[in-house]
């Protein structure tokens, strides 16, 4: 599907999400959006700007502050012929939609024995760096990745933001699209055309032979920066952007590990019981024979996201910590 935005000189993450919604709505009248302030106001972060004017108040609906019902209604709507895309304003508020997503959306196709499916998308931004504090910064994607029946993607750049969202909307199953508040302003040179990106496929964003760094979301940039820093010391890191967390691209990680024999995993979420745990565990099993050093994870420490800038910057995974992790596994 050709992108309207093909003539843009640059592409911002926020605009890419907006474009994906726009293109999906233009292509398929069953795509509808609803959420708090997504309509008249165009979204708290401005992601849905212009869509209500373009597609009308029936297809782009402002809801009251009723997250549980927003998500549950998406399940019912998806079972009844719509493709709802809902916005949960901050990922921290997904605490209020767990029943709808986990007990209903994730299970309907399976527990109804294959009858129907739930083609809904839940978009929500995670991540810190804005001083938003403990209830407006959390990265909770590991919860959803643990739930059979859900799919989870986490775009690290504008092109993925477009492509993964298009794929998510096209998908017959419920997909959580985890955006990142701090990335909304990120811009890249716009590609010729924007296309859907298959769910479940990672992308090697930098080739390298000495160590594999697996990352997703905002941590991809941290990993790339660390790789640059390491390169100046002669260490060539391969950086993999996972893009999808459930399913995740086990084959790509294993292939990279088979070339480098060292593995570092980076994400913004809390390290303990986070997404990196699964990747490490899997590689410590199926990739064990390839490993020449410990698998080192770099994630947030085991504490709530603190408010103060000083605390929050120490809290977030840094280039220094990634470099140190690589050095440790190379020792």
């Amino acid at each position: 599907m050709p992108a309207r935005g093909a003539v843009m000189a640059e592409l911002r993450y926020l605009r890419a999400v907006n474009q994906a919604l726009d293109d999906a709505m233009a292509a398929d009248p069953s795509v509808v959006l609803f959420g708090e302030d997504v309509g008249e106001a165009g979204g708290s972060f401005g992601v849905t700007r212009g869509l209500r004017d373009r597609y009308g108040p029936g297809r782009v609906r402002d809801t009251p502050i009723s997250e549980a019902t927003i998500a549950g209604a998406a399940v019912g709507a998806a079972l009844s012929g719509l493709k709802p895309v809902i916005e949960i304003m901050f990922m921290d508020f997904t605490t209020l939609v767990m029943d709808a997503m986990v007990n209903q959306a994730a299970k309907a196709h399976f527990m109804f024995g294959g009858q129907g499916s739930v083609p809904m998308v839940l978009r929500t931004p995670h991540g810190g760096g804005l001083g938003a504090g403990p209830q407006h910064s959390q990265c909770l994607e590991a919860w959803f990745a643990h739930v059979p029946g859900l799919k989870v993607v986490c775009p690290a750049d504008p092109v993925s933001a477009y492509g993964l969202l298009r794929a998510a909307i096209d998908d017959p199953d419920p997909v959580i699209v985890v955006e990142n508040k701090a990335l909304y302003a990120m811009k890249v040179e716009a590609p010729e055309r924007l296309e859907a990106i298959p769910i479940g496929k990672a992308s090697i964003v930098r080739p390298g032979r000495d160590v594999s760094i697996v990352a997703y979301g905002a941590a991809v940039k941290t990993a790339r920066d660390a790789a640059e820093r390491l390169a100046s010391d002669g260490v060539e890191a391969e950086v993999i952007d996972l893009r999808s967390l459930q399913p995740w691209d086990e084959a790509a990680v294993l292939a990279s590990l088979s070339g480098t024999h060292r593995l570092v995993i980076v994400h913004e979420a809390v390290e303990a019981f986070g997404v990196g745990g699964e990747i490490a565990a899997r590689m410590a099993d199926i990739g064990f024979d390839e490993l020449d050093g410990p698998i080192v994870r770099v994630g947030a420490p085991f504490m709530p996201v603190p408010f103060s800038r000083a605390l929050e910057s120490a809290y977030q995974p840094s280039v220094e910590r990634v470099v140190a992790a690589v050095r440790r596994t190379l020792e």
Binding site: G58, V75, G76, S80, L82, M111, F112, P172, P198, G200
Partner: protein, 341 residues
Amino acid sequence: MEGVATVTTRPSGELNVSGAPDAAGLLDLYGQMVLIRRCEERLGALFADGEVPGFIHLSIGQEAVSVGVMSALRRDDTIASTHRGHGHAIAKGLPLEGFFLELLARDEGLCRGRGGSMHVADTSVGMLGANGIVGAGLPIALGSALAHQQLGRDAVAVAFFGDGALAEGVVHECFNLARLWNLPLLFVCENNGWSEFLPSSKQIAFKLGELSAAFGLPHVAVDGNDVAAVAAAAADVVGKVRAGGPAVLECVTARMRGHFEGDAQKYRNPDEIARLAERDPVGIAARQLLKTGIDEAELTEVAETVERRVEAAVAAARGGRDPDFEAAKAGVYARAGGGHG
């Protein structure tokens, strides 16, 4: 309160409700109630014998709600049900064999043995699932109503829930949103007086009629053990919902069995249990039919037909296969891909 009506029907036993079904119609409703009753009695026995795994909540005593409400619905109307959903499922037209096959956890079951009693569904007749989570059906029905509205279908959605569910916040969220968006959504409360082992009066501090009024939702209360009354009220209110937006139908009924099968009901006053037979909706409808001139033989025939259908379904269910594990594992997603871990 603008747009709010409260209708209470006469005490049960008299067939005098305006818009009520005629004798032939009532006989049909009666037959459906007998069918549900017999299915559930049979399930109770199969459960006691260990043929039905898990746990089951029977709707015995509440058949008039399922049958009465569903008599006002079309096939393309959708419903979301509860943990006590057998009656809704059967009344909405689920194939009986597929139903029993499911309850006996067979591969040929409606849900291929993955769901069981609390998850029976048949999307082809608009039955969007029983539900193991109290209150969770309401947003699903609301979303279905939204789809009807948005896609320009003149179908309605119906959310069934119990009186105990009124304590779940999501119910109130749905009342609000249904009103705001003027959705073709009927809320049907099966008020059986109990929430598990406690009278719901100890859990719910308000009257549904007053709550509905506060939300600007028309509220109709009906004797939920009088199928003719339920059918008449449902016909009326479903028509209004189809034309003009959400409403609440409160069916005052009685749970004749325990909360689940195996519940000894020690918490329940023996007098109350003893008096339940008087309110038995099947008995009430039978008495109404006899008064219209239908004779005992016809009722017996209904019972015999039902018996044959149910036994055939049970036999078929017993003959079903166990589901295959690898196939089940492959059926988590409509479109799989990648390694899910």
